[in-house]
């Protein structure tokens, strides 16, 4: 069974989960609240429509709402399935374990796309009040890429969650370790000796370029490369650990 079939299996399951629905509601409520507060406190002309969209996504990431949601969904899809036995049911089908891990990862990627692009769409509707600059149409591809960078940041955390979940069935331990990984990555970013190789610093570099800073193609490739190395590396480790793991429950 190929990755595509497993991804479809995981996606149709994920989008029926109550936790996934609750996550969508929380994120969109926070998005609406932030937009309404801005509506009430910032008169027309004092704010840019583009800013409300990027600020809204950035705020949800800074408040750890997006990383926490990504970790919760990822930890649920492994730990809860393991303790309930549904992972055992899946592993007794003719499907490779690394395909299961990749399928789950892609399903969560689609879910995070829905979340982040959903925030962008809701913010866009509110942002009409403040209006957009004349070159907004040409900025849309950049805006979509900005959303993608935020999604990739969270997908690194998801891949790390899969590594932790291969060693424990405790959802609390997995979630704590994964959020801890994200917080430590934020702290490490402040150390100039290693910041070049942290995924968060490279994501920030990309965001600054996309928001209108000086664009250097080489630097952009480097940053994208580092983020993908994190994702692929962590997924490989997770797949290797899962391959060797006994399914006891």
């Amino acid at each position: 069974m190929n990755v595509y079939r497993v991804m479809r299996f995981e996606t149709s399951k994920l989008f029926r989960q109550k936790a996934a629905h609750a996550g969508l509601i929380v994120v969109f409520l926070v998005c609406c609240m932030y937009s309404v507060i801005n509506w009430m406190t910032r008169p027309v002309g004092s704010y840019s429509g583009i800013m409300i969209i990027t600020d809204n996504i950035s705020l949800q990431n800074s408040l750890l709402i997006l990383p926490f949601l990504a970790v919760l969904i990822a930890a649920t899809s492994i730990c809860v399935e393991q303790s309930s036995g549904t992972l055992r049911t899946l592993f007794t089908r003719p499907v490779k374990r690394d395909n299961v891990i990749t399928g789950k990862f892609l399903a969560i990627f689609l879910y995070m796309c829905l979340i982040v692009y959903g925030i962008a769409l809701i913010s866009f509707l509110f942002a009409i009040r403040w209006g957009f600059p004349e070159d907004f149409i040409s900025f849309i591809p950049r805006l979509l890429l900005i959303c993608l960078v935020y999604i990739l940041i969270n997908m690194v955390v998801v891949a790390f969650t899969f590594v932790v979940a291969s060693q424990t069935t405790s959802i609390a331990l997995t979630a704590l370790a994964s959020i801890g990984f994200y917080v430590i990555s934020m702290l490490v970013e402040f150390f100039s000796q290693v910041q070049t190789y942290t995924f968060l610093n490279n994501a920030q570099t990309l965001l600054q370029m996309l928001l209108g800073g000086p664009f250097e193609l080489r630097s952009a490739y480097f940053s994208v490369g580092i983020i993908f190395i994190y994702i692929v590396g962590l997924l490989l480790i997770a797949s290797l650990l899962w391959e060797k793991r006994d399914i006891m429950s």
Partner: protein, 219 residues
């Protein structure tokens, strides 16, 4: 040709041998059974056969494909129900079957009819253990497997036992192979042509059913 070949299969957990040096073969197109009391190691043995557990030593092949080396390849054409059937609690029986059927690019209607499942729109969390077991057998039958590995498929209420027994016999008549576990010797005698009796993870008797030594196993 052998459908299942286990050679010196051993599994040690925390220095205890839960499966100890089990060797047997199941011929294609037959029903074989593993008999043992609760805690004898039947489910652990099935987990080893289906690749859920990695053996400490020994090998297991399904139709010549090594389960330990490549479980996905070995499990092609194999339908399994190992341990208590586990499904997504918030989804209905039908939705669960649809999900797993989609993996085989098929639908669940055929197995629903085959198992006479009368509760397709009930959420799994509200199903009784017999209903879950029937659902587990139905899920194992998805994709028309040529080898069925079922853990205690007859641990059902009496009205369903005969139905499942007939279904297993039909599978044999179709030329498919069936491996079941049970703790009731009479079930093994009625269904299987080959059996392995295990106690505390060790094989105590094995061979053709008529020659099997059932001493020490509760009738």
């Amino acid at each position: 040709m052998s459908a299942i070949t286990c050679t010196s299969l051993t599994k040690t957990l925390d220095k205890n041998s839960v499966v100890d040096d089990i060797t047997f073969e199941v011929e294609e197109g037959t029903i074989a059974g593993i008999l043992g009391e609760d805690g004898a190691g039947k489910t652990t043995l099935l987990k080893l056969i289906t690749g859920l557990l990695k053996p400490t030593s020994g090998t297991c092949t399904l139709f010549d494909a090594d389960v330990t080396r490549n479980p996905a390849k070995a499990l092609k054409g194999v339908g399994c129900m190992v341990g208590e059937p586990a499904f997504y609690q918030d989804l209905t029986a039908q939705k669960n079957l649809e999900l797993f059927a989609a993996l085989f690019q098929t639908g669940p209607d055929e197995v629903i009819d085959l198992l006479d499942i009368t509760f397709p729109s009930t959420k799994v969390r509200y199903l009784s253990s017999t209903m879950k077991k029937l659902l587990g057998i139905a899920a194992a039958l998805l994709g028309e497997p040529r080898l069925l590995i079922l853990d205690e498929p007859l641990a059902l209420t009496p009205s369903f036992r005969d139905h499942v027994k007939n279904l297993l016999k039909e599978q044999k008549e179709k030329g498919n192979t069936v491996l079941v576990t049970t703790c009731i010797p009479a079930d093994l005698k009625e269904l299987a042509s080959y059996g392995v009796v295990i106690r505390e993870g060790k094989p105590v008797s094995q061979g053709a059913i008529k020659n099997l030594d059932l001493k020490g196993v509760n009738p």
